[in-house]
């Protein structure tokens, strides 16, 4: 087997064939390495941004806060944890608000008002609600023409309470369009006092460790939701780029199939003398087939490895030029090991696919067709 292989490799087409595959693979390797750099930069930037310390406990099957229900017993679990900064249970529901001039559907949030206003860094025109009082968000107050001292009625599930507006609040959050009511008042409207909609809490340190520890203590029907999801954003955006890259690599691999076909065809044409001689010496059809297959695979494997090197080196050289031309821009292209393996495997598979037909055709050739 070694001698015929040597004979086929001595043909002039070997080097151009390796180069053809190498250049195609270089395209994949260089673009993938640059995309990797961009994605890693995005991830680094997201780390600088911080990931937040506030979380929500919600029922697992809920799609909104208003239809979520979690047990108030969970407050105890959180309370027992030293790393929890604050706990803010909230009952959130939609109600009809009746004022002197308006009837509006509004979001009502029942909370411990002292904790709520502390954690929200609230600006208040008036005072914080206590007893049969409510605070109204500034935007809602403007829309519904509500003023401090006004009396409003809130109706929910055939029950109603009349409250005095203790103050207009501004939190620069959704509370600015809500009615904030002490929890004991909300419990008059909603009898289910063992349940709240959500429990907001914040952790002091070791965020990931703390959250995974907490999730082990919680019942299965409760989920923990981070209120800042920078990581999800970054992963999503990076996945979109990687998906585009995978789609784009499909036509490159198709061209690799075609190139392998051309390499194998050229090999059979240029080596017709050697192949005919082998047949004359008694080589079986399968041996000729295997020979062409092996030569093509060796050529494409060499081309793939060379291509990855060319691609990476090319991307590095371009990066150095970019850094030199545009000061302040740093580009460090790299390939992950699994990406390198993937490129080698896919390129080899494509090559194999491309060389099968010419190899089969070569085995069917008769002496008469060959010029000696």
């Amino acid at each position: 087997m070694i001698l015929p292989l040597k004979a086929l490799f001595r043909k002039g087409g070997t080097v151009p064939a390796i180069l053809a595959i190498a250049l195609l693979v270089a395209i994949l390797a260089s673009i993938a390495s640059v995309v990797n750099h961009v994605n890693s930069q995005t991830e680094n930037l997201s780390k600088l941004r911080g990931t937040g310390e506030t979380f929500l406990l919600m029922s697992n099957n809920s799609t909104s806060m208003t239809n979520s229900k979690v047990s108030t017993q969970l407050i105890q679990i959180l309370n027992e944890n030293d790393d929890v900064k604050y706990i803010l249970p909230q009952k959130i529901f939609t109600a009809t608000m009746i004022t002197a001039s308006n009837n509006l559907t509004v979001l009502v949030t029942g909370v411990n008002t002292i904790t709520f206003f502390q954690v929200r860094h609230t600006y208040v025109n008036g005072s914080f609600a206590n007893g049969m009082q409510a605070n109204v968000g500034e935007i809602l107050a403007r829309i519904a023409s509500i003023h401090k001292g006004d009396r409003i009625t809130i109706t929910s599930e055939d029950k109603e309470v009349t409250l005095e507006i203790a103050g207009i609040i501004q939190t620069r959050a959704q509370s600015d369009t809500e009615l904030i009511v002490p929890m004991n008042v909300i419990n008059l409207l909603n009898q289910d006092n063992d349940k709240v909609s959500i429990i907001e809490f914040a952790v002091k340190s070791n965020r990931n460790e703390e959250i995974s520890h907490l999730s082990e203590l919680l019942p299965a029907d409760v989920k923990i939701v981070a209120t800042q999801q920078t990581q999800t954003l970054v992963q999503d955006l990076n996945n979109q780029t990687l998906y585009f890259l995978s789609l784009w690599s499909i036509p490159v691999y198709i061209v690799v199939v075609a190139t392998a076909y051309i390499i194998a065809t050229r090999l059979t044409i240029e080596s017709s003398y050697e192949l005919t001689m082998l047949k004359a010496l008694g080589a079986k059809r399968t041996q000729t087939f295997e020979l062409i297959l092996i030569v093509t695979i060796i050529i494409t494997s060499a081309g793939t490895i060379l291509g990855i090197s060319i691609g990476l080196t090319g991307a590095q050289i371009i990066s150095i030029i970019i850094q030199w031309a545009w000061k302040g821009i740093e580009v460090a292209p790299f390939l992950e090991i699994q990406q390198t393996t993937q490129i080698i495997l896919f390129a080899s598979a494509s090559s194999l696919l491309g060389c099968i037909y010419p190899a089969v055709k070569a085995t069917r050739k008769t002496y008469a067709e060959v010029q000696l």
Partner: protein, 397 residues
């Protein structure tokens, strides 16, 4: 020009070269069309046309992180020739586990810049607290219908907001992949005060006012002293709903540009120009040319007996070269067109299924005439060069 009168080239062998050319051309077209479409989609992200301009923060590193005083939107609206002035806060956020963009707007102003067709539900108004509208593509992807409730989680700040879907709209622009909410919802996500927005988009009548005149007004406005509380005028309609006052600013930090130019400024800053993308695509094609060379060489080798016979009958090497080139040119033109067509169809099919996405927005693919010309020229040129080189080598052999 002499063309050899009989057909000595075998169709089957010529077909192989054609397929290679089609594939190489399709690869170039997919790369170039993909890159150029991404570039164009980003450029048109905030709107198209000369009559839409943007007032933005020149210091900002991205189009989404600048801060411009909200009250300027109302000030600009009072200039003769300004048809609409839309203050906007565009922020990434997470809905149903997917990253999306939410645009906080003054709905009536936005509708004048981007006419929306309401497909389901109702139109959003500024006083629709805790409500939002969703673009058609996004609503399909997230399976949202009117009256559904969504939780919007902050991507860059700690925020959680519950919104009820009021309507589904279609605009045939990038807005179809976004959630539109009242201005203040965007400001909560941006963690800014009500006195600032990301940018202000303005629709102008070019015959009455120009971007430079608007900038001059902004300069004059900055120099006007802030009225004392006792002299303050009656709150504007927007101020009656959103609590903000006049914020101070440095006019040099504000930019006034056509919207497409504004986006182009940011893309250029990161070296993403139409020219660099075309060069990159051409580089991909050049890398694939080794295959075309190999294929042309194989074609010539496959016809070695015929070429040898023709040479022995007296055909000169020049005549043969010329004949092969003339026969290959229509083939390469047809192959490049076919490649471009295949690439366009493949990309349009992808677009139909909502892929690919860049910055959570679908990329809109459009055929490009310059690309078509570049593709045809490159393919033809490479084929001609490859055939000349191969016949030369055959002669040497």
């Amino acid at each position: 020009m002499k063309i050899i009168g009989f057909n000595y080239l075998q169709k089957q062998h010529f077909l192989t070269l054609t397929i290679i050319l089609i594939l190489a051309s399709a690869l170039f077209s997919i790369t170039a069309l993909g890159f150029i479409s991404i570039y164009r989609s980003l450029n048109n992200y905030l709107g198209e046309g000369e009559n839409i301009i943007t007032i933005y923060d020149r210091k900002s590193r991205t189009p989404f992180t600048g801060l411009v005083p909200t009250y300027l939107a109302e000030r600009i609206n009072s200039i003769n020739g300004v048809l609409a002035s839309s203050p906007e806060v565009v922020m990434p956020c997470i809905v149903k586990g997917k990253s999306i963009f939410l645009r906080g707007v003054v709905p009536d102003e936005l509708y004048q810049l981007n006419p929306l067709t309401i497909l389901e539900g109702e139109t959003l108004q500024l006083n629709d607290t805790n409500s939002a509208m969703v673009g058609k593509s996004l609503s399909n992807e997230l399976n949202l219908v009117p009256n559904d409730k969504i939780i919007v989680l902050g991507a860059l700040s700690e925020q959680y907001i519950e919104l009820e879907i009021k309507g589904i709209y279609e605009s045939n622009t990038a807005l179809d992949d976004e959630v539109i909410a009242p201005l203040y919802v965007g400001q909560w996500l941006r963690k800014t005060d009500y006195g600032h927005v990301t940018l202000i988009r303005v629709k102008i009548d070019r015959s009455k006012v120009s971007p430079s005149q608007i900038y001059e007004t902004l300069v004059q406005e900055a120099e006007t002293p802030t009225p004392s509380p006792s002299n303050e005028t009656k709150p504007s309609p927007l101020q009656q709903m959103i609590p903000f006052s006049r914020a101070t600013y440095t006019p040099e930090n504000l930019g006034v540009k056509e919207t497409q130019e504004f986006m182009k400024t940011y893309l250029d800053r990161y070296g993403m120009t139409r020219e660099t993308l075309l060069i990159l695509s051409a580089a991909v094609f050049i890398f694939a040319t080794a295959t075309i060379f190999a294929s042309s060489h194989t074609l010539i080798r496959q016809h070695k007996p015929e070429i040898t016979v023709l040479r022995s009958l007296g055909a000169s090497a020049k005549t043969l070269k010329l004949d092969l080139v003339i026969k290959a040119i229509p083939l390469s033109v047809a192959a490049s067109l076919a490649g471009m067509l295949i690439a366009t169809v493949a990309l349009l099919i992808l677009q139909e299924v909502g892929q690919p996405q860049v910055l959570s927005h679908r990329v809109q693919f459009q055929p490009d005439l310059l690309l078509l010309a570049l593709n045809t020229i490159l393919v033809t040129l490479i084929v001609v060069l490859a055939i000349i080189r191969s016949t030369k080598r055959l002669d040497k052999d």
